[in-house]
């Protein structure tokens, strides 16, 4: 990593005019918070490496002077995005047991600071399309139609490749600028339904195509569309995805119908900062794909990565991405890819922390958040913003209403989690618990005015009680339906 492009002073938490003594003292404080011997959290280790590097340079007057000189060119660098953190409570009460704290983290694009004559982001897009036998009929027809619409949307400044796969993969359109739209459309229409589903072949051919035009100023993205389950190659697919992510490619995964493995596609997408979606009818394919491509075109920053370093006694419990599209994300390994920052809306995640029993009053730090991203229009790679979160602990905090945005997101997230727990209970063979959880879910969905989903939950609860099984359709509808409740439409659209 290029040290010059980063603000090392911010990492240590000192102003640029700090004395060597200030720097030593600041280092001592942050090192005590994040040194691996003192702090077992995964994110802390990662952060400490940055801190150590910063101190190595700034702690040495000669190195510091050299850094300051080469840093001149970044002196007037505008702010490309900023972090806004809203805690669920501003003041915590003293308590002799652990308590939960939520942080709503919003990454806010500062669009004015990277304006380039209204040009939207340019794409390096690869479509990986399933053409197995089960796609025959309206599914494949709609997929072709959707792909052709995407070709229409793109321009000669965008790169497109199309890979079709069944048990083998075929590069239908090698990666190239979208100039001859008629020919490209014709090539898409050649797809025939045949064979089984083996995602690894398709995915690796797709990633390969995307790689040929890999560029930091582009949105490098692979969209995988499948209706089947892949057998035996899932681990390899995930390894491939992680590799792709490190190179700067994100992957979105869309499943049509009931057969495909949602757990797998969720993981695949979340490890690369992409999104996953459930498409329940062939006619919805066109809308889903178009929406996806349109939102990629609104990209302001790509390859956003979040590191969360809680203080030693704080535990990171979960992270859920709310915007631009709701997605559960794995907290390991860090940094966590969170994908795209659109120019017209914030990206946001909800972070759940467990605070230790707190007896000492006063201000305390609880975590440091760090977001890095590549600003497309400014061609600024690895732009980084940090935020240290601290809170007051008081013996008698004034009662405060929780922030509406957090309450709202949590209310809906709770529904999604209830569905997940019901599924987990069933997987453990605990039919009674699964039934009870689904009934609870139905009650809550009804209270939330989601009558269709509530109805579905009741039907599935009965089905579980009598057959010990969920229907695939019901399970996926509930999972992606409750997740979709968290989505907000794009601003400026009605």
């Amino acid at each position: 990593m290029d040290e010059v492009s980063r603000n090392l002073y911010a990492i240590l938490g000192v102003p640029p005019e700090a004395t060597q003594d200030d720097i030593r003292e600041a280092y001592r404080i942050v090192a005590r918070r994040f040194h691996p011997d003192a702090n077992p959290n995964e994110g802390a280790d990662l952060l400490f490496r940055d801190i150590a590097t910063s101190y190595e340079i700034l702690g040495n007057p000669l190195e510091r002077a050299r850094y300051d000189r080469s840093r001149q060119k970044f002196k007037d660098e505008p702010q490309y995005f900023s972090l806004r953190v809203t805690p669920s409570k501003r003041v915590l009460g003293t308590l002799d047991e652990p308590q939960v704290l939520y942080l709503l983290l919003e990454v806010v694009p500062m669009r004015r600071n990277a304006h380039k004559k209204g040009r939207e982001a340019r794409l390096n897009l690869t479509l990986v399309l399933d053409h197995s036998t089960s796609m025959k009929g309206p599914r494949l027809d709609k997929v072709k139609f959707a792909a052709q619409q995407i070709i229409e949307q793109l321009t000669a400044e965008d790169i497109l490749s199309v890979v079709s796969f069944s048990d083998r993969a075929e590069v239908l359109i090698p990666a190239e600028p979208v100039t001859d739209k008629v020919t490209l459309s014709a090539m898409v229409s050649m797809m025939r339904a045949e064979g089984g589903t083996e995602i690894l072949h398709g995915l690796s051919a797709g990633v390969q195509q995307c790689e040929t035009h890999l560029a930091p100023r582009l949105v490098n993205h692979v969209i995988l569309l499948t209706d089947g389950r892949t057998f035996g190659d899932e681990e390899q697919c995930l390894a491939l995805a992680e590799e792709a992510s490190q190179k700067g490619i994100s992957i979105s995964a869309m499943g049509i119908g009931e057969e495909w493995n949602d757990e797998f596609l969720d993981t695949l997408a979340s490890r690369t900062g992409g999104t996953s979606a459930y498409i329940n009818s062939p006619s919805a394919v066109v809308r889903f794909l178009n929406d996806r491509v349109r939102s990629l075109g609104r990209s302001f920053a790509e390859r956003l990565q979040l590191s969360i370093a809680p203080d030693a006694d704080v535990v990171l419990e979960s992270v859920f991405k709310l915007l631009p599209s709701p997605q559960p994300i794995d907290i390991h390994p860090q940094p966590i890819p969170i994908g795209t920052l659109q120019h017209n809306r914030s990206a946001s995640v909800l972070i759940q922390l467990q605070m230790p029993p707190s007896t000492k009053t006063g201000f305390r730090t609880m975590a440091r958040l760090d977001v890095t991203g590549d600003i497309l229009a400014a061609e600024r790679m690895g732009y980084k913003v940090l935020s240290d979160i601290s809170l007051e602990i008081s013996e008698s905090p004034a009662s405060e209403e929780p922030p509406l945005a957090i309450l709202d997101a949590l209310g809906k997230l709770t529904l999604y989690r209830m569905q997940q727990k019901a599924e987990a209970a069933l997987l453990e063979g605990n039919v009674g618990e699964a039934t009870r959880r689904l009934e609870n879910l139905a009650t809550r969905l009804l209270a939330a005015g989601q009558e269709d989903l509530a109805q579905m939950a009741i039907v599935e609860a009965r089905r579980v009680a009598s057959t010990n099984m969920l229907s695939e359709e019901g399970r996926k509808t509930l999972k992606f339906g409750t997740r979709a409740l968290l989505a907000l439409p794009e601003p400026g659209e009605e």
């Binding site: 009460g93 939960v100 467990q354 929780p402 945005a405 209310g411 709770t414 609870n440 009605e494």
Partner: protein, 165 residues
């Protein structure tokens, strides 16, 4: 520790929705507070828990937007359009929610309408993207609902209370 009133699960402090059954743990309290405020306005417990629906010719409407101290008095027009002003599409609502975070809260340009009837007020959702909620219930678009004094209206995620003066 917070014990869930619905399923008796012990939740850690700071949890807003029961981790076991999804019961709101803190919203309930907020709900109770607003309920109490309503009861105080309408006299002793057990009499009337709802505000009056009667809205006379000489009455006027005052709106309290959550997180904003200053109440807003609405015009006395027969139809009051709620939404957010947008220069591009030339929409000029009677009550512009833009200064109150309309965009972030998902308020549509033409979101909802308050209509003055004989001696009542009705609220109509105009097919807004994120919906209009009246006291927590989502309105079916284009179906008028009678407003009462003290009702909570939510446009997208923007919450306010309406009072008759």
């Amino acid at each position: 520790m917070k014990t869930c009133p619905y399923c008796a699960h012990d939740n850690r402090e700071g949890v807003f929705f029961c981790e076991e059954c999804g019961q709101p743990l803190v919203g309930d309290q907020a709900l109770a507070t607003s309920q109490l405020a309503r009861e105080e306005r309408n006299g002793p417990r057990g009499q009337m828990t709802w505000g009056t629906a009667r809205f006379g010719r000489e009455s006027s409407i005052v709106v309290h937007i959550r997180n904003y101290a200053e109440p807003v008095t609405l015009t006395s027009k027969d139809q009051i359009l709620l939404g957010r002003a947008d220069q591009q599409s030339n929409v000029v609502p009677d009550v512009d929610m833009a200064p109150y975070g309309a965009v972030e809260n998902g308020v549509s340009r033409r979101h909802a309408m308050i209509r003055r009837g004989e001696d009542t007020l009705t609220l109509i959702d105009l097919g807004s993207t994120n919906g209009t909620h009246l006291n927590g219930q989502r309105l079916i678009p284009h179906q008028p609902r009678v407003l009462r004094d003290g009702d909570e209206i939510r446009l997208g995620k923007l919450v306010f209370h309406i009072f008759f003066k």
